[in-house]
């Protein structure tokens, strides 16, 4: 993952991202369209298929694009609080999982032969537990809905992050460690100068998959026993045969996922700027 990036020989690395000199705005627009044509095509095909299906199938099985759009508007007007609740649960559990996973991963890396050796199989087992098992067990164990959902997200995402951080520390270049070690740093200094920056790379890499995965699990967990949140709303829609609502929520969740990927891209651009341009593609 941290294979050495090709050396950029550019004099001014901060200039235009794609390397080519800035052209007129129409040129940029053209490039944007060129970059996104595949996405645009896929979206168009999906929308077309949805519309086509709605025309063939009876409306209670497949809503048309118009109905779905109305449902989206309805949600944004009347059920904003559910979106906010789900997002709040998501952010809080992810932040807790990242903090804990990072610290545990660092401790694993600092004490490989003991903590690292013990937690690796533990996390492998935790990751092998089906998400459904976590959800069902949590429903029986924990009555407070928010804590329950937080627990489920934590149990699923924290090991992924800890393992990624641990992996990063194990992959640190021993030659660089020696070069820092020649100045005889304390353990804490070595942690700050070597382990933490090295782990940031792997951390961000793992967030790409972990965030999307955690959001899916969270909505799934809200399905059972929650009184609010996107998952609960979708469940209500399902019991009431409101297919347009299910489609609308799905559409919104897809948007949220794309927004998350975008946020991670931005974070990566800033935190991993030192890797040159290779990482930003």
């Amino acid at each position: 993952m941290t294979t050495s990036t090709p050396v950029s020989t550019k004099e001014k690395p901060s200039s235009s991202a794609a390397g080519a000199p800035e052209k007129a705005t129409s040129g940029n627009l053209l490039r944007a369209v060129k970059d996104k044509w595949a996405l645009a095509l896929v979206v168009a095909v999906i929308l077309g298929l949805v519309q086509l299906s709605s025309m063939i199938l009876p409306p209670f099985l497949f809503p048309g694009l118009g109905d779905i759009a109305m449902a989206v508007v309805d949600i944004l007007a009347n059920q904003k609080s559910d979106i906010l609740i789900t997002m709040a649960r998501f952010v809080v559990s992810l932040v807790v999982a990242i903090a804990a996973g990072w610290i545990i991963g660092l401790v694993m890396g600092a004490f490989r032969s003991t903590v690292g050796a013990l937690f690796t199989p533990l996390f492998s087992i935790m990751q092998a537990v089906p998400a459904l098992s976590w959800v069902l067990l949590a429903v029986l164990w924990i009555s407070d809905i928010n804590i329950r959902i937080g627990f489920i997200c934590f149990a699923i995402s924290m090991p992924l992050i800890a393992i990624a951080v641990y992996e990063g520390i194990r992959n640190i270049d021993p030659e660089i460690v020696e070069a820092v070690d020649q100045f005889r740093p304390t353990k804490l200094q070595a942690l700050r100068m070597l382990l933490i920056p090295q782990s940031v790379v792997y951390m961000i890499m793992s967030l790409r998959s972990t965030t999307a995965f955690t959001l899916r699990i969270l909505v799934f967990a809200e399905l059972i026993g929650a009184a609010s949140g996107i998952g609960q709303r979708m469940q209500v829609a399902q019991t009431n045969f409101q297919l347009d609502m299910i489609f609308a929520w799905t559409f919104l969740l897809i948007l949220v996922n794309f927004a998350l990927v975008y946020l991670i891209d931005v974070a990566e651009k800033h935190l991993l700027a030192w890797r040159g341009e290779a990482v930003i593609r």
Binding site: V7, S8, T9, E175, V180, R184, Q189, A273, W274
Partner: protein, 262 residues
């Protein structure tokens, strides 16, 4: 205290039944620049490991600035630094931040750290590249950064392990000249490990020629050699080369003989 910054007495190193250093004794006086010249596998890096405290000799004693580098590792903090064959920079730090690494560990205050880093970047002609990350520097620039990092802590003794060998000849020559200037200005002692005969006699004031396993075949006053052979270095170079080759041959023969006998 002895005026010698390095004292090596009857040191041998065995890796299992492999003899890497054989009964080695020498000393280096404070303020001198000594090149250790030897062919690959002669045990040069092993010697550096002994001197910086990464390795304990199987027998014999090593003293650096009066300390045992392994047992008194802490006491040597801030006195030694090293540049390697590859730059070994932290990729997430800019050139300047890399130069500051050693000073940061030694808890030099931030403002002073920055000022000293700027100074040493200037000395290696990287005044304008301080804000660049290693990925944005050429190989030569990275190696310059790593030299600046070694000088920036203001050590008493600097080690170079083949630090110029991965650079093209023109770049290497420039950097060697800069290195001499910097060591003289900061009156640091230096041990320069190299397998280049030219390099050894160009930058050192004393050259120790090593055989394999590490032991001293010759001990030269480099200034005198430059005076005598500077205009016509090739024959002298050939002489040194032959010295190393002959020693290797003699070793191989002795080894073959002892194998036959046993």
């Amino acid at each position: 205290m002895s005026p010698n910054i390095i004292e090596v007495n009857d040191v041998s190193v065995w890796f299992g039944d492999f003899n890497a250093v054989s009964d080695l004794s020498f000393s280096i006086s404070e303020g001198s620049r000594v090149a250790i010249l030897g062919r690959t596998g002669a045990g040069k890096s092993t010697l550096l490991n002994l001197l910086v405290g990464n390795l304990e000799p199987t027998s014999g004693t090593v003293r650096v600035a009066g300390h045992d580098p392994v047992r008194e590792r802490r006491e040597l903090q801030g006195l030694l630094s090293m540049a390697y064959q590859s730059p070994r920079l932290l990729p997430w730090r800019t050139a300047r931040e890399n130069v500051e690494v050693g000073m940061e560990i030694l808890r030099v205050p931030k403002a002073e750290r920055r000022e000293r880093a700027e100074h040493w970047l200037r000395m290696v002609h990287l005044d304008n590249a301080g804000d660049r990350y290693p990925a944005q520097l050429s190989g030569g620039m990275r190696q310059r950064t790593s030299l600046a990092r070694a000088f920036a802590i203001g050590p008493r003794l600097i080690f170079l392990d083949e630090s110029f060998s991965a650079l093209d000849e023109v770049t290497a020559k420039g950097l060697r000249a800069d290195f001499v200037t910097m060591s003289e200005e900061s009156s640091v002692s230096a041990v320069i490990v190299t397998h280049s005969i030219e390099e050894a006699f160009e930058i050192a004031d004393r050259v120790l020629v090593f055989g394999r396993p590490a032991r001293i075949l010759g001990d030269f006053d480099a200034a005198e050699v430059r005076r005598k052979h500077g205009d016509n270095f090739l024959p002298f170079r050939e002489h040194i080369h032959q010295m190393m080759v002959d020693a290797e041959k003699a070793d191989a023969e002795a080894e073959a003989k002892s194998l036959v006998e046993s």
